[in-house]
Amino acid sequence: MELDLTGIIFRVSVMYIYALTLVRIAGKQSIGQLAAMDLVVTLIIGDLFDDVFWAEVPLVQGLVGFGTVVLAHILVTYLSSRSKRIDQLVNSPARVVIQDGKLVLENLQREWMRQETLQFELRLKGEEHPREVREARLEPEGQTSVLKRDVNKPVQKKDRPSLRR
């Protein structure tokens, strides 16, 4: 078997530039929109490459397969940003898990989220007690957002003129 080193250099370079171009086009709209799917698509991209590098599949087939996946992803993110219906179809809606200091058990149940899990998500936001929280939501990206009650927010400089100097 010949070593085919120039072939490898050629194919890797073509795929690299091709990927960079497509991801550059896809990038801006898709950031944070479909977090889980963004991740899976990123992994698919990586997965489709090696077969081409080792010439297990022809270069054109790699370009087509890879391009199709990225185009489908661009299309879905674009449509979900334009239409609320499609957004709800591909994205899980944000759910309120704490309202005015109280756990919303119904939504925890719906998301299969244990109270211990919510506790550690709160701790990661520096929050000790649910009672200081006005509203916490499990966001579509899978992270928990935490908004404090007004009285528990840190004091801003504008409210203490004497502190400014």
């Binding site: 990123t42 397969g65 890879f66 299969w112 009285v151 927010k153 004091v155």
Partner: protein, 173 residues
């Protein structure tokens, strides 16, 4: 490489993309890649099976079945972990306290194979330079470190001000 094969590749890629979109949606927002190390591994598995399907090395049916079996196991695992504390502890990690009331918990650090330098580096990343200020620092099940400050080290809150009521009303208006 004939045009037919290229068309088939595009078709298979389209189908696999939308199938995975469906699977990820059904698994829910916490189940793929975000909550724990194992969720990330599931995302990796789902991403890594597709090349053989798209390039036609395995049949579509085989690919779909493989993806479905991974997804179903992950669903069963999430559901069982939600229902039972025992299974949650068994299949996930539990939080470990690293600092309590300013005291570094060396035993727990050792159990998680972390040294003090690494702990200090994590605290610095959270903007904390003095462990004295820490009421509780915890290595959480998702591998991140949470920091709760001592009461005296917290920023002043509106409720701590004597005129807090009028201030909050003003903020709302």
């Amino acid at each position: 490489m004939d045009v037919n094969e290229l068309l088939l590749t595009a078709l298979r890629a389209t189908f696999v993309y939308f199938f995975l979109l469906l699977v990820v949606r059904v698994l829910g927002k916490r189940e793929v890649g975000t909550t724990s190390a194992f969720d990330l591994i599931v995302a990796l598995i789902l991403g890594e099976v597709v090349d053989e399907i798209i390039y036609g090395d395995v049949t579509m049916l085989q690919g779909v079945i493989a993806i479905l079996v991974v997804a179903i196991w992950h669903l069963v695992n999430s559901w069982a972990s939600f229902k039972s504390e025992f299974i949650d502890k068994l299949t996930g990690a539990s939080p470990t306290v690293m600092v309590r009331n300013g005291q570094i918990q060396r035993k727990n650090l050792a159990r998680e194979r972390l040294n003090e330098e690494e702990l200090f580096s994590e605290l610095r990343l959270m903007g904390v330079d003095d462990p004295e200020e820490v009421k509780q620092a915890t290595l959480e099940p998702n591998g991140k470190i949470s920091v709760l400050l001592e009461e005296w080290a917290k920023p002043v809150q509106y409720q701590d001000l004597s005129e807090s009521k009028s201030k909050t009303q003003k903020r709302k208006s």
